[in-house]
Amino acid sequence: MIALTFFQVSALLTSFIGLFLGIFVYIAGDRTKLSRSWFFLSIMVCLWSAGLFGVVYSTNQQTAWLWQYVLDIGGICIPVLFLNFLLHLMKKEKKLFYLQMVCLVAGASLIALNFTDLFKTGVSPKFGINFWIDPGKLYVLFPLYFAAVVFVCVYVTVKDYLATSDANYKRQLLYVLLAQIFGFGGGMTDFFPQVFNIYPFGNYFVILYVIFISYAALRHHLFNAKVIATELLTFAIWAFLMARTLLSTSIDELLLNGAILFAIIIAGVLLIGSVLREVKQKEQIEKMAKDLERAYAVEKRANEELQNLDKTKNQFLLQTQHDLRSPLSTIRGYCDLLLSGTLGKQPKKTAEVLERIEAVAEDKIRDVNNFLDVTQFRLGKGAVNLKPGVKIFSIISGIAKTLEPKCKEKGIYLKLAKPVQDGVSTIEITADKEKIKSAIFNVVDNAIKYTENGGVNVDLFIDNQKGSVVIEIQDTGIGIEKDKVSSLFEDKFERSHEAQKMASGKGIGLYLSAQIVKYHNGKIFAESEGQGKGTKFVIELPIIQPQNGHDNLKLASVEKPGSAL
């Protein structure tokens, strides 16, 4: 009773698939002009095919006549819309605007003509098909127009196909071309009965355009592939089940097939929905990743700028230190010259003043040096020049001698313990003599600074087990709370709000000592029983530097015994 012919089923399937494909691409896709253009095209394919189905399925002439209008209007619109879709795909919609307009005007004129009997005079049964169009005198314009627009479509596709070097795009175009050949080719056979009096055998091929476009979408990302894949699979099952349902031969079979179809439609909708959600989430994640990347790039740039700024600042500091130190060295040099009697013996008073000037200059040189060293260390140019033969005891006694006047002035003592161990007074270590001198100096100077009563004891001994020398500086000063001991060696300059105070180079001494000791592969630490109980500083230095232990610059001079005259 409901038995459909194969021709009818194929028309109906084309209609449904056209509808679904159009709607889903539009909903699932990125709403670009391309997917919108595809949507309109699909709707027209759907209308045309529905019209075709209506005409061939109708049982009375009046209904068939109405469906014939749907069929014709859909058929006239399809090639123009396909051209529009193509031009969007090729991004030539602006370049070939006028060509499109000409086709559009031709199509619109045909639609107008379609309402006159010049186009069609009626519908009547043909070739065993219920109804088929009876063409009017000017009907032939329709197939001509159709062929012309299809020719334009094929032409621009082939042209672009040959021109492009993008492999993926080339493949997309190939499938689009195949879709045109089968879709339009098959569709054109629908003109045959009225033009050549031949059966419209090609209509079955129309559906192939779906397959080619889908393949292009799937394999070559014409649209959002994953969604399309799911949809196509679902539609294929739906279409199959629908065909089965429509071709059912009994009520029982119809009900069974209908129920299965219904269930599968629901399952399919859910499936598509979930894939849509997944794709959306994926897009969101991709967007977030992109945002993150951008944010990272911005931060990286800011960081680089900051580093450059820091470098510039440090270089400026280096230059400033250099400019400060040169005149100070000169002042000290002149004092040295006068005091050493190079220019004759100075009166006692003059010598005293010169000594004071020299002391101030020396003090300032030390500050500037400390400051410069900190800057150097911070620049990563940890310039320690490790050389063997550094007599550590004489360095310490030299420091004691330098600082003794300061202690006397303060009313405290500074004692360098007499070495009891053998060899302490003559032990030689591998070190940067000047750097290690300032490292120890800073610690002793710091001890004196924080001691008001009593004094400072300095002791040197050898730890044979560790292969190192140990310098202990014990004071009777203000001491420090246990939990703050480790903060003594921090880079206070970096953190302090008292940058101005630090500008003199003071307050960075211990940090610098720690850096220098570190570059000697040594250890520095402090111990205190608490506030008011004095502090003990300990510096451990290896006697021999480990091989390749540190990539310090080794500015060791090559002394040539024979070179001196």
Binding site: R325, L328, Y334, D336, L337, S340, L343, S557, K560, L565
Partner: protein, 124 residues
């Protein structure tokens, strides 16, 4: 030091003050001192004056200290060259890969008397 012909020292230094301090000091110690104020002058005077020892700054106008020293060495001049430099000069020497070849003293770390002792040690 025995009183025979006094040793000659060439000082290449663009800082006039520092140069004059060194000159006075060395002369008071009985050395003969000649001054050059840039690298090119240093090369010329090393050739014409035949000094026994050369003290030189590293960063100098016209020809820098290291290039000067290389030229002097190539001329088979046997005078030992000791650089008097600041830290920047030392790191420059390190960067140019020449630090191993020459001896140097860092100006602000040593006193004038240390420089004199160095000279005496070299010329002993």
């Amino acid at each position: 030091m025995p009183k025979k012909a006094s040793k000659k020292i060439l000082i290449v230094e663009d800082d006039k003050d520092f140069a004059s301090i060194l000159k006075m000091k060395f002369e008071s110690e009985g050395f003969c001192v000649v001054l050059a104020k840039d690298g090119q002058e240093g090369i010329d005077m090393a050739d014409s004056e035949k000094p026994d020892l050369i003290f030189s700054d590293m960063l100098l106008p016209r020809v820098n200290g290291i290039d000067m020293a290389k030229t002097i060495r190539e001329a088979k001049n046997k005078a030992e060259i000791i650089f008097l430099t600041n830290l920047e000069g030392a790191s420059y020497a390190k960067e140019s890969g020449q630090s191993e070849k020459f001896e140097y003293l860092i100006k602000s770390d040593v006193r004038i008397s240390d420089i004199v002792s160095k000279a005496k040690e070299k010329l002993a």
